[in-house]
């Protein structure tokens, strides 16, 4: 057993020794240790290098507020977790931990030179220095700063662990299982409430785990705790969650909890869940989050071996570890005396107690003196000495040798969650800290987190809060009290943050971000008045610890400097998460294939089997092209295009949005929504519909068929299906509730097989039953019902290619069979499956727009050549009034035109900008931009569509397309490149 471990006591299991390594060196600890307590038990204090100055740092605290002792814990290449607090890492056999932010080693760190150069690194240094030239950021400043001032590194392999997520509801959620939280949970459950009690530590108990010298209801505090916990665990109405941090308080009592399930286990089972995210919706919340001891600010207060007094006491009483052999206590409150007395009793020499209060006196001072400890009242701290470990402290000009400095500036209530819930804080002059005042949620704070200190007071406050919470849920319970005896006076003395001390030397306020008193003084000198601005300028409180040990001191210092009361300087905002949360827990199962739903068409597997290359269109997987051996995309698309133009192609159009619009007022409804005249559309006929938003801009388009007098089949763009249905529902429910019309999404009901090309009719005719495909019976833009390849079908004669075309709609389950029947029937005619890329080329050759590609949310129908679609006689439709506004009718709006490059081989970049003349220096005001651009196989040259100011009047002119390195000459044309008369369509 190491020299620093006590012979007995604490909550560690002395029979279970655990091996671990730190920076490659092997050590031994005990079951129940944290990494921090195990290191201290081995006399290791130097555990890290500070963020900016690379100063040696030790262990400051014993909990979640730790700013210094950040380590990386490594299980394997993929399981390497950086930035863990050694004070929270539970030891297991074989644990491998490494320090961070040092190179080449913790003992000798080259970055330490930053400390010697520190006069060059004042507050705002980064803002002032690394501003110009801007180009230096990417190549010089940022890489150097990142390397030098890094936290731990993230592992590069994918995270192999499992993360779970659960939603839970309860009457009362109690956050924190110290005495107040346990009493609250007990009271709420006794009243009949369903309770969740969570605590971030490995076991419930809070401050009681540090061995309170008191009796509760006649039992030693430790025994009472064991019984209380066992009773709660056995209560079916109570769910206890250990190792579970409530990290976020969201509106309406929705709290985020993260449960660490396996990080404390040496060899977790392969299928175990590493972390579980709980989303709890509680009717009432009791916050019992405790308080955080605050450091004192004096030169060298960051040296390894300088520790919060309460932390040293915790290491002694909970872990059986003496944090040193000879200690000096520097304090501004009574609360720290217990630590000195306990350490003294455990054999640590207390060289002196330096009490900063001029009139330090009372029972604690007397108790210390009775124990033979020298108490220096009204002491002034000059600073500490030492290198990688403190070796002495200067008190009022006198240097006292020691290897441990205990400090205490009193306690600050942990108001983080309360503040996240938008509760209002108020400044307590007597306790010199912020405490909760007005709740914004159905919430109440209890115990130390609202400044109620002491075991008896915390138990009573917790019980009252738990009962009140249960009553607020409608339960009736009776009050019960706890009989507490023998409580030391410690807890009855609230903490007190003292005023600022010396601003000589390096006195740290924020340990994690390396912010000193001088930085704060500089900020005040430079005119910063609000703490929010001081925070941003100096970075105080902006590290991942969110200033748990620095905010209050910073506030006090700035307020003193400005000569204002603390509340006038304000307080910073606490944001979630309380402590960092892994991305794994937040993502849960939503990774890889489960990140977002994948939608596939009924014929997806057929396309896969044919070797299709897919593209993502929203959540859909769409076949982009079907390459044959040796073909690249360009070759495959050229072949597919020629097949459609010269023979026949088959295309999976199932992703088109489909909406059944049904009811006596269906025609009237569509008439009001779309620009077109649908009242006059005959049964069995189709019309190309254009949908505007009320502001007149093109929103969606698609073919709409009238299947019966009261039944329309509306198609939408693939991406627009959901938003078009939502827009329709909005008008149906809220503007025209009197119309008898019903809307149903049928997108996934139908498999849609487009057969396009001059031979399309010959392919389909032998498969059709009950449908006359003769042009007179089924002309362009007509629909018929019957059977195709045995399946009940709607056969549309429509075309998005400019060729004779059909779209076969069959029930989704019949899609594969009909697709294969079509392919078999078409073999003799050279039928060729084609993908979305070919579809795009074919439609661009015809000048058919794609909403969202030619349009950008600012195009009215006339801009994209769709004015012809507008029903002239309609008095109103959605968007009509808007396109009649003067601003929309003025000349010079961008209009859809075609572009032919002078060099027919050049395929322009989509998005490229156009100018009247070449060589205009950037930034230029373009006259328009390219919206679509392809190589056209059938035409033998490239084609492009563009939106150009006053475009239709420019047809025949030459423009210049800006490309990297120059301009490309292009001629403005009509936007139809192939078969402008439309003869093929009507074949």
């Amino acid at each position: 057993m190491s020299a620093f471990r006590t012979a007995s006591g604490g909550r560690v299991d002395r029979a279970r020794r655990l091996r671990f390594t730190f920076d490659g060196r092997a050590w031994e600890g005990l079951a129940g240790d944290t990494l921090a307590s195990a290191l201290l038990a081995n006399g290791v204090h130097l555990v890290g290098r500070s963020f900016k100055y690379h100063r040696p740092r030790g262990i400051l605290t014993a909990g979640a507020e730790e700013p210094n002792a950040l380590v990386t814990v490594r299980r394997d290449a993929a399981r390497e977790t950086p930035n863990l607090k050694a004070t929270q890492v539970e030891l297991y056999d074989g644990l491998v931990a490494e320090s961070q932010n040092r190179w080449p080693s913790l003992g000798f760190d080259v970055g330490r030179v930053n400390d010697l150069l520190s006069p060059l690194f004042p507050a705002g240094f980064y803002y002032k220095t690394f501003m110009w030239p801007r180009s230096a950021w990417a190549r010089l400043y940022e890489p150097v700063i990142r390397r030098a001032a890094g936290l731990g590194r993230a592992p590069e392999a994918p995270d192999p662990d499992r993360y779970a997520q659960r939603h839970a509801h309860c009457d009362v959620l109690v956050v924190g299982a110290g005495p107040a939280g346990i009493a609250a949970a007990r009271a709420a459950a006794d009243a009949g409430a369903c309770v969740i009690l969570c605590d971030e530590q490995s076991e419930p108990g809070g401050a009681l785990l540090d061995g309170a010298p008191a009796q509760i209801d006649g039992l030693a505090a430790g025994d009472w705790l064991a019984r209380a916990v066992a009773a709660l665990a056995a209560d079916p109405k109570v769910r206890m969650l250990a190792r579970t941090t409530a990290f976020g308080y969201f509106p309406h009592n929705h709290l985020g909890l993260v449960e660490r399930c396996t990080d404390h286990i040496a060899a977790p089972a392969a299928d175990s869940v590493r972390e579980r995210l709980w989303q709890v919706r509680a009717r009432e919340v009791v916050l019992a989050a405790g308080a955080i001891e605050q450091p004192l600010v004096f030169p060298g207060n960051d040296r390894p071996g300088v520790m919060l007094a309460g932390a040293a006491r915790s290491y002694l009483k909970r872990y059986g570890v003496r944090a040193g052999t000879r200690a000096v206590l520097v304090t501004a409150t009574d609360a720290a005396y217990q630590a000195a007395l306990d350490l003294h009793a455990a054999g640590v020499a207390i060289a002196a107690i330096a009490d900063l209060r001029p009139a330090a006196a009372g029972v604690w001072v007397e108790a210390a003196r009775r124990a033979g400890i020298e108490v220096l009242a009204g002491a002034a701290i000059g600073g500490t000495r030492g290198g990688r470990r403190v070796s002495g402290v200067t008190i009022s000009g006198r240097t006292i040798a020691c290897d441990l400095v205990l400090m205490s500036g009193g306690y600050a209530p942990s108001v983080h969650l309360f503040s996240q819930s938008r509760g209002r804080l108020t400044w307590s002059d007597s306790m010199r800290c912020f405490v909760p005042s007005q709740s914004a949620e159905r919430e109440r704070s209890a115990g130390a987190c609202r400044g109620v200190y002491g075991l008896a007071a915390a138990l009573a406050d917790g019980a009252a809060a738990g009962l009140a919470a249960a009553r607020a849920c409608g339960f009736t319970g009776i009050e019960r009290g706890y009989a507490v005896a023998g409580e030391s006076a410690t807890h009855q003395a609230p903490g007190a943050t003292p005023p600022a001390v010396a601003d000589r030397g390096k006195a740290f306020v924020d340990f994690q971000n390396d912010v000193t008193i001088r930085d704060l003084v500089l900020a005040a000198q430079e005119g910063f008045r609000s703490i929010e601005h001081v925070k941003r300028y100096t970075t105080v409180g902006m590290a991942t610890d969110q200033g748990k040990t620095s905010n209050l001191n910073a506030l006090g210092l700035v307020a003193a400097r400005l000569g204002k009361p603390v509340p006038d300087v304000g307080h910073t905002t606490f944001r979630m998460p309380y402590t960092p949360v892994t991305f794994g827990a937040l993502a849960g199962a939503a990774r890889g294939e489960l990140f977002d739903p994948v939608r596939t068409t009924p014929m997806h597997e057929v396309a896969v089997a044919r070797g299709a290359v897919f593209e993502d269109v929203g959540q859909w997987k769409r076949a982009r092209y079907f390459p044959r051996a040796g073909e690249d995309m360009h070759a495959a698309v050229a072949r597919e295009c020629l097949a459609v133009r010269n023979a026949c192609g088959v295309f999976d159009a199932s992703t088109l949005g489909k909406i059944a619009v049904v009811g006596p007022d269906a025609a009237e409804f569509l008439n009001r929504l779309y620009v077109n005249d649908f009242a006059g559309l005959g049964v069995g006929r189709c019309r190309y519909g254009v949908l505007l938003r009320e502001d007149g801009f093109v929103y969606d388009d698609g073919v709409i068929a009238r299947l019966a007098a009261d039944r329309f089949h509306v198609t939408t763009t693939t991406g627009g299906a959901a938003r078009v249905l939502a827009m329709m529902e909005d008008y149906r429910q809220t503007e025209w509730p009197g119309l008898a019309v019903w809307l149903t999404s049928t997108t996934e009901q139908w498999a849609v097989i487009a057969v396009q090309g001059p031979l399309a009719r010959r392919v389909i005719e032998p498969l059709a039953a009950g449908i006359d495909l003769a042009p007179s019976a089924l002309p362009h833009m007509a629909v018929a019902h019957g059977r195709i390849a045995g399946a009940p079908a709607m056969l549309f004669r429509v075309s998005f290619t400019g060729e004779l075309g059909y779209e076969i709609n069959v029930p989704a389950a019949r899609g594969v069979a009909v697709w294969e029947a079509v392919c078999a029937a078409g073999r003799a005619h050279g039928i060729t499956p084609y993908g979305t890329e070919t579809m795009h080329v074919l439609r661009a050759e015809k000048g058919y727009i794609i909403v969202g590609q030619e349009t950008d949310g600012t195009a009215v129908p006339d801009d994209v050549g769709l004015a012809w679609a507008i029903g002239r006689k309609k008095p109103d439709f959605v968007g009509k009034r808007s396109i009649e506004r003067a601003g929309i009718r003025r000349a010079g709006r961008k209009q859809l035109v075609g572009l032919r490059t002078r060099d027919p081989k050049i395929v322009l970049e989509e998005g490229a900008q156009l100018a009247d003349r070449p060589g205009i220096p950037a930034p230029m005001k373009p006259v328009g931009h390219v919206t679509s651009s392809y190589a056209s196989a059938v035409l033998g040259h490239s084609i492009a569509l563009a939106m150009i100011a006053g475009g239709r009047a420019r047809i025949g002119q030459t423009l210049f397309v800006r490309v990297p390195g120059g301009d490309v000459e292009a001629k403005v044309t009509i936007p139809v490149f192939y078969d402008p008369e439309g003869a093929r369509l009507h074949a």
């Binding site: 509106p251 502001d695 429910q733 503007e735 008095p875 109103d876 009509k880 506004r885």
Partner: protein, 89 residues
């Protein structure tokens, strides 16, 4: 995440809903009779109150119905929800 009481389904979490802007804006029955300015006002000008705000929500991933809610924009507290066509309480 807010809890929103759908007038048809009861309290449901916010992720089931979509927001649809200010409530009680009635589409003018004869837009052609409005001046450009009056039409633009209808299209674009919205209240932005600090406090009580009548607004439209849709229980998109539930019953699909639109309804109105009175929400306090400073606290996100929803005082009441009511059906389309009903006057604001």
């Amino acid at each position: 995440m807010l809890l929103i009481p759908c007038p048809y389904c009861g309290e449901r979490p916010e992720i089931e809903f979509s927001y649809s802007g200010q409530a009680h804006l009635v589409r003018p029955p004869r837009p052609a009779e409005l001046s450009d300015e009056a039409w633009s006002e209808y299209l674009y000008v919205r209240d932005n109150p600090r406090g009580r705000h009548a607004e439209r929500w849709r229980h998109l991933r539930g019953c699909g119905r639109f309804f109105n809610a009175i929400r306090d924009t400073t606290t996100d507290r929803i005082a009441v929800t009511y059906r389309m066509g009903e006057p604001p309480p």
